[in-house]
């Protein structure tokens, strides 16, 4: 078993970086999505992943979250492989994918109560405040199937406000949002970066955030 203490390894340069990927290689059914991909995500940065359709953006995001293990290479979280400290890593991670994780029969409050309590204790006041902030005031108790796609997206984005997670991995969070929603999300991302957290995001929008860095695929 690997010990919890930082290992005395040669690549000590990655020890202090929040997330460091080295030599990532991924192929799906004979097709190479990316190879020898390297990047760093330090604290306080928003990293936008760009690439054409099918260039492996979503796959990369899922690999980073540990949802997909069909890759070679190393991904380190403060100098340690994420596989070796999964529970530790998961409690600092918040992922929102294409499927936003909102059960249609439940209300926004019920959804958030569950998905947040998988990670941390949360009060109803916090949930209400977060829903208000993403512009869902008045919809707190309506079943999610009555909400539009954009509103469902907002339900999942409310988790960003509640969550203390230091790493956000967001896959196309802007697609169904209106202009006001986009602006608000940009603000939320910026706030996260300024608070020392970091964000990995895929989108085709050009983001208006000072802490932005780019990563291009394919």
């Amino acid at each position: 078993m690997s010990s919890a203490a930082p290992t005395a390894s040669s690549n000590s340069d990655t020890d202090t970086i929040m997330l460091a990927a080295r030599g990532l290689f991924c192929a799906r059914d004979d097709r190479v999505l990316f190879k020898n991909l390297n990047f760093d995500l330090p604290e306080g940065q928003v990293l936008q992943v760009q690439g054409s359709n099918g260039s492996g953006k979503t796959t990369l995001m899922r690999i980073l979250c540990g949802l997909n293990d069909g890759y070679e290479g190393s991904i380190k979280w403060y100098g340690q492989e994420i596989e070796d400290q999964a529970a530790n890593f998961f409690s600092s991670l918040l992922y929102i994918g294409h499927r936003v994780g909102v059960a249609k029969v439940l209300t926004p409050v019920e959804n958030l109560r569950w998905s947040c309590s998988l990670k941390q204790a949360v009060s109803d006041e916090e949930i209400m405040a977060a829903l208000k902030e993403v512009g869902l005031r008045g919809f707190e108790e309506s079943p999610c199937y009555t909400l539009s796609a954009g509103q469902q997206q907002r339900v999942s984005l409310a988790r960003l406000i509640i969550s203390p997670a230091s790493l956000w991995v967001l896959d196309e969070p802007f697609t169904t949002l209106d202009r006001k929603g986009v602006e608000r999300l940009e603000q939320i991302l910026q706030r996260q970066a300024q608070a020392g957290g970091s964000v990995m995001v895929t989108t085709h929008h050009s983001l208006n955030i000072p802490e932005l860095a780019m990563l291009s695929l394919g």
Binding site: A4, Q85, A86, A87, N88
Partner: protein, 153 residues
């Protein structure tokens, strides 16, 4: 202890607890004497209630098989060398049904103390023997069976 270690330990303890319960109840179950058939002695000792449908397992006593000429009715005695139970059956007997063979019969006792079988199952020997070997054994008197080799069937 690190939190994630404690969580792993939690799973392991949970599984260990579940499996030890399983082992405990296996031991209990094996003591419960699950048997699929009664021996003639058990039947003679009255372990089976009247009108109860059950199975009886035993050996066909040598020289007791009496078949009716005009019907498929057959009478024989099942034994475990301690007690005997007379059995009546109507139907086609399995190929391996012979005197001295192990059988299992399914049915119930009638008022006269005869087991009315609705089904008779033959058990075949665990060992294969060629007729020559068998004959040699019979000649040496090493076997309790005394039937003839059956040839092709």
């Amino acid at each position: 202890m690190k939190p994630h270690r404690r969580k792993k330990l939690g799973i392991i303890l949970f599984i260990a607890a579940g499996l030890s319960v399983a082992v405990g109840f296996t031991a209990f179950a094996l003591k419960q004497n699950i048997n699929m058939f009664y021996t003639p002695t058990q039947v003679a000792e009255g372990e089976v209630g009247p009108g109860q449908h059950f199975r009886i397992g035993g050996m066909v006593k040598v020289g007791t098989v009496l078949g009716a000429d005009d019907s498929l009715k057959v009478n024989f005695v099942a034994t475990d060398f301690v007690s005997d139970v007379p059995i009546q059956y109507e139907g086609i007997l399995p190929d391996l049904f012979r005197e001295g063979q192990g059988i299992v019969a399914e049915g119930e006792m009638d008022a006269a103390g005869v087991f009315q079988a609705s089904r008779v199952l033959a058990k075949h020997d665990e060992n294969f023997m060629s007729p020559e070997v068998k004959a040699a054994l019979d000649a040496a008197g090493a076997s309790a069976d005394n039937h003839m080799p059956s040839g092709t069937n």
